[in-house]
Amino acid sequence: MELILIFLQKAIAQGICILFGASGEIITEKSGNLNLGIPGIMYMGGIGGLMGAFFYEQSTAEPVGLVGLLISMLATLLISALGGLIFSFLTVSLRANQNVVGLALTTFGIGFGNFFGGSISKLAGGVGQISVAVTADAYRAKIPGLSQIPVVGDLLFSYGFLTYLSVAIAILLTFLLKRTRKGLNLRAVGESPATADAAGISVAAYKYVSTVAGAAVAGLGGLYFVMEYLGGTWTNNGFGDRGWLAIALVILSIWNPARAIWGSFLFGGLYILYIYLPGLTRATQELCGMLPYVVTIVVLIFTSRRNNLESQPPASLGEAYFREDR
């Protein structure tokens, strides 16, 4: 019982950064942009937040957690949005290939994260291992009262606010996509830019806004990782392949952010399952690690076979749209 509870808690904790990434990527892909730069953008978001908090805590003798929290969050949003802006500029305005730009952005973003993560302390004058304990504590603060309830409190209320924010964002995005005019227009842009264009929708503007906003949301996943998961520090490549898992989760959730919530917990669970399954050897543990990807491939094949239009990727995904090509 105890073990299951811990497993669920850890699965959710693992899932949250994937959920941020997937939500951001879904909103991006709904505009027809396949942004493979998301893994890099999540690194950028993570290091951005860490640096914001770090410089704030360095600059004042008695840092206040809430201020650090706001500064780091702002830094994350700005830096990851910048990543989205680079992607949009190159693919929408300069008409470059989306896959190529995305992969270059991931190379850049991971390098960016690891570079500053590794050298920030030196740049600041050699303070050793960076740690932003005060800000991280603010991120890790649990809901007072509710988190004390046994079992239910542990399972539902024992997380920092980013966890709830991630779920809220996923629900909000689903609402935005399904229940608002802008969401409808966005879906139209991703399905058939030519039709959207003919209906008077500015395809480029929708692609820009959704890609930049999507990148900002994905960046929060990196922030969650450094602040809540690692407790305000950095390890090179510590974020690992979670960015690609986020892209996998987009497929698993069939481009629906609300479904990505459950999917992220499932992925989080699969990600750490090997620790909790009894009787696994080290070797079979490693095989367990491929589960999220194998599941995604199966879903991908299944949706392509089923030919159900509702569960397909946005029809223009990955394709560039220029009006004169009409």
Binding site: L90, L94, F108, G111, I247, E286, I301, R326
Partner: protein, 370 residues
């Protein structure tokens, strides 16, 4: 009719006009300008961080990449690896099949090579072992390329996402193997395989440590060039990539071409894995691919599949990477600076293609009057 609609694209101040053609020197001039802009931006960033004279920084880069004989050969070795992966990707991309799975195909090839080195290292003469290694690595890469191809051909499954996911399955398989192969035990790494016997290592050729690497990669590049340019199969690939409708019209079996081409693409990427393992690192880890499977995609795409350009771009990128690692250590930064520099250069190069294909015209200047 096309002109009619062009007028509306491009925004209020200028319009975008597609160039009907551009001379090769002019296109290269634009690319060169992009590289220069990229280098300037990189220099600014490096100077901002290191507060050093940018010229001395670039001198450091050159020193780091080709400063000593050893460094030069490492740069050559790494360029060759990037080149052969890009060569492997060429037929797939020419067919408009987005093989993002080179990283996984390289890993599987490397894993097959390592397996043979470990298990058969002492059972046969080295030349036979090496032959087997090359074949096995190609077979392993081929299988990894075959899977997405079959599903693409039969069900139209999105190959970009499929090949992407397979990369991580490959990483886990390598992790799985490391458990059995780790040396010393408990280190979670494989260590240098056959370090005392050098079995399964590519030997020296003409007194050069990496002589065989050069020969194999150049041979594969040349063969691929001939295959794409002069063989019937290469011709079929171009037709399928350009127009599936035409391919049907002349009776080309599209499914067969997709599957066959991806087998070739995967096999060459697998071979790249053997070259990394047998011909360089003599070990296997999840970072054996080292992201080169992704970088090679950009190399292949930017070179428009021209082998000579691929060689140039590969060498340039590796040169910058190795140089950046050197200056990073020189100024006490970490080596990831190289990825930032690579990224920035790539952004500029990718962006420059726009100015090769299109030109901007100011609005208000009416066509015909100017």
């Amino acid at each position: 009719m096309a002109e009619e609609t062009t007028q509306t694209a491009g925004g209020p101040f200028f319009r975008v006009v597609k160039r009907s053609g551009i001379s090769t020197p002019r296109a290269w001039l634009i690319r060169l300008a992009a590289v220069c802009c990229g280098l300037i931006v990189c220099a600014l960033i490096i100077v901002a961080i290191t507060k050093q004279n940018p010229l001395s920084v670039y001198a450091g880069i050159i020193d780091g990449a080709v400063g000593t004989n050893r460094r030069l050969w490492v740069t050559i070795r790494e360029s060759l690896v990037l080149l052969i992966i890009a060569v492997g990707l060429t037929p797939a991309f020419k067919m408009r099949f987005w093989n993002i799975g080179a990283e996984g195909q390289v890993l599987m090839g490397g894993m097959a090579a390592a397996a043979l080195m470990i298990y058969l290292g002492n059972t046969m003469p080295n030349w036979l072992l090496l032959m087997l290694i090359l074949l096995a690595s190609m077979a392993a890469g081929m299988i990894w390329g075959l899977m997405p191809a079959v599903f693409k051909a039969c069900y139209g499954t999105n190959e970009t996402l499929f090949t992407l996911m397979l990369n991580y399955v490959a990483i886990q398989i390598v992790n799985f193997c490391i458990v059995f192969w780790e040396n010393p035990s408990g280190s979670n790494t494989v260590g240098i395989i056959n370090s005392s016997t050098s079995k399964g290592w590519l030997p020296e050729l003409f007194g050069l440590t990496y002589g065989w690497n050069v020969v194999i990669v150049m041979a594969v590049t040349l063969l691929m060039y001939i295959y794409m340019k002069h063989s019937k199969q290469g011709y079929e690939i171009s037709v399928v990539g350009e127009s599936q409708n035409t391919a049907k019209y002349v009776g080309i079996n599209i499914k067969k071409v997709i599957i066959r081409t991806m087998m070739i693409s995967g096999a060459i990427c697998g071979l790249a894995g053997a070259i990394i393992v047998s011909g360089g690192s003599h070990t296997i880890s999840t970072s054996t691919g080292g992201g080169r499977g992704f970088t090679a995609i950009i190399v292949a795409w930017m070179s428009k599949f021209n082998p000579l350009v691929m060689l140039l771009v590969s060498a340039f990128l590796v040169f910058m990477q190795k140089g950046a690692i050197q200056i990073a250590s020189q100024y006490g930064l970490n080596e990831n600076a190289s990825d930032i520099i690579t990224g920035i250069l790539l952004f500029f190069l990718i962006g420059s293609e726009f100015f090769i294909n299109y030109k901007l015209e100011l609005r208000g200047t009416k066509r015909g009057t100017k």
